[in-house]
């Protein structure tokens, strides 16, 4: 009795006990009523909705743990411990953070535009969390109780024929949340942050669009002739990169390595992540566009940012890194059992996790850009590089050249960019340059004055 009382009184152990009992009850219910829910799971529409709810919950959880991971990685890079007090290894930290944010005072300052002030975090949240609907998570499969010749299910929320444009559109809607938040706050820091964020996000949309178009044309060229029009579907892009007998892998990244790099950079900038986090540069703008926000409204901006990271990683993985395919694993790519579907979800999840880790290591390793450097990077290097790669890919398709020529073009673009950056080095802004010229003139004048009297 004393042991049971101790377990019930202990906050962590009692929580674990509740979760275990709840899990056992739910599992028992599922097993008991499996026959009744079989038809729900076998129907494509209901399965899609169940999957979308599951992934929605999964992404919300993943976002909470991404924040913990981010703090752990930053601690590891800066040689600290990171959160390690709440639960074992700090694993209950996201829960504590969530409860704290929910119970914090929700301040709406007197000078704000109230409707837009509430709308902005809501918009950021909604827009970031509907993007994953078109990502192919697990390919086609059949449940064990289904007939072998039944129409297979698709482990995907929605299979629309303009998935790539849908994702681009949803991704660029994110700028509304930021700008509305900054504008409604009626705070100069928030306003400048919003302006910067808007300029940055719309600038990096251009190279992103160019690179995605390149990948789409490549995929259309790689797909078999009767499926060439499926290249705007993400599952089409993934199918084009399945392991193939002729080559050990057909991932688009091997044909367009520089384009994949450009897309990673553009995705970093789109998500407002360091080194492109000028919109919330703490040293200059306090918090940027979310200076005036508190409690759950503030948290919704962060949920949106991290969910956007997950969606853009999934986008990159599907277009360039082979989706749920692995080299040589033909079983993984072609098998239509539920087990293979779960394995495919695991593979694409692992790839997304690798990208999230890359985002975080980049954030804690690189210093922030200055605004003119940021815009120069977008317009004067990424856009020309994207244009050249796109033109090369169009020529390859038109003249029916072998696809490996794009590798040569990509590396050539990289070499040209390196040469251009080394010969036209512009490490300082024009304003700093004019300051330096003034300083030099002043120094010369002082020197003359000193030596005039001698």
């Amino acid at each position: 009795m004393a042991l049971i009382r101790a377990i019930i009184k202990h906050p962590i152990l009692s929580g674990l006990l509740a979760v275990t009992i709840g899990g056992i009850v739910v599992l028992t219910l599922i097993v008991a009523f499996l026959d009744q829910i079989k038809w729900v799971l076998s129907d494509q529409f209901w399965f899609s909705n169940i999957l979308s709810l599951a992934i929605f919950g999964g992404i919300m959880t993943a976002v909470a743990y991404c924040i913990l991971l981010e703090r752990k990685i930053s601690a590891w890079i800066q040689d600290r411990y990171g959160p390690n007090r709440v639960g074992p290894l700090g694993l209950l930290q996201p829960l504590a953070d969530g409860v704290k944010l929910l119970l914090k005072e929700d301040i709406t300052p007197g000078h704000v535009d109230k409707a837009l002030f509430v709308l902005a975090p809501f918009m950021m949240f909604v827009v970031a969390l509907i993007g994953f609907a078109v990502v192919p998570w697990g390919g086609t499969f059949r449940w064990p109780w289904m007939d072998a010749d039944a129409t297979p299910l698709v482990a995907q929320v929605a299979s629309i024929d303009i998935a790539v444009i849908y994702l681009l559109a949803v991704g660029s809607m994110g700028v509304y949340g930021v700008v509305l938040g900054g504008w409604a706050s009626n705070n100069k820091y928030a306003f400048y942050g919003a302006m910067r964020a808007a300029a940055q996000m719309i600038s990096y949309e251009i190279p992103l669009g160019l690179v995605v178009l390149t990948a789409v044309i490549t995929v259309g060229y790689l797909l078999p002739v009767d499926h060439a029009m499926d290249c705007l579907r993400l599952e089409g892009a993934v199918a084009a990169q399945a392991p193939h007998a002729a080559s050990w892998t057909m991932w688009v990244v091997f044909y367009h390595p520089v384009a994949a790099l450009l897309m990673f950079i553009a995705a970093l900038a789109e998500a407002n992540r360091a080194p492109f986090d000028l919109a919330e540069a703490e040293q200059e703008l306090i918090g940027g566009f979310h200076t005036e926000y508190s409690a759950m409204k503030w948290a919704m901006f962060f949920l949106g940012e991290y969910a956007h990271m997950i969606t853009s990683s999934a986008f990159m993985v599907c277009l360039f890194w082979g989706g749920y395919h692995l080299p040589y694993c033909t079983w993984l790519s072609t098998d239509e059992s539920a087990l293979a579907m779960l394995c495919r979800i695991g593979v694409i999840g692992a790839k997304i996790a690798i990208f999230i880790g890359a985002y975080m290591v980049v954030r804690w390793s690189l210093p922030r850009f200055r605004f003119d450097q940021l815009m120069r990077l977008a317009w004067k290097s990424l856009v020309p590089m994207g244009l050249v790669i796109l033109a090369a890919q169009v020529l390859i398709v038109y003249y029916g050249w072998p696809q490996w020529i794009s590798i040569v073009v990509n590396l050539g673009v990289l070499v040209l960019a390196a040469i251009a950056s080394l010969t036209n080095a512009m490490p300082i802004s024009g304003r700093q340059q004019s300051l330096l010229i003034k300083e030099k003139a002043a120094r010369e004048k002082e020197y003359e004055l000193q030596h005039a009297g001698v």
Partner: protein, 136 residues
Amino acid sequence: MTSILAESPNLGYGPIAVLLGVVFAVGIVILLLTHYLPKATRHGPEKDAAYESGMPIVGDARQRFNVKFYLVAMMFLIFDVELILMYPWAMAFLKSRTSEPIADNAPMIFWVGVVFFIIVTVGFIYEWGKGILRYD
């Protein structure tokens, strides 16, 4: 190539609409929760003022800002419209090139795209030369 795209049912936009509804509901519930949960709330002139590092606020935040931001927006408009036009063009181009035999109008489609691309590129170089892309 294995037929991974084979006979998948067309799901349409139904599940996206359902997902949108769910996300809307969750967002509204979060906003209501954070607003209506009982909390100690106290207002005052200083607490309700804009947070500008503790300095007294000078003027309103809705004031003039650098014209460069307008220029960026205009550049974005031009280039994004170009990109959005390129997507359907790319589809038509791929369709004409990958059909067997190659469609008769394939050269026409290709050259229309090339002319459009060249006009946009020349415009981009002109903007670059005019110094619109300078931000310092």
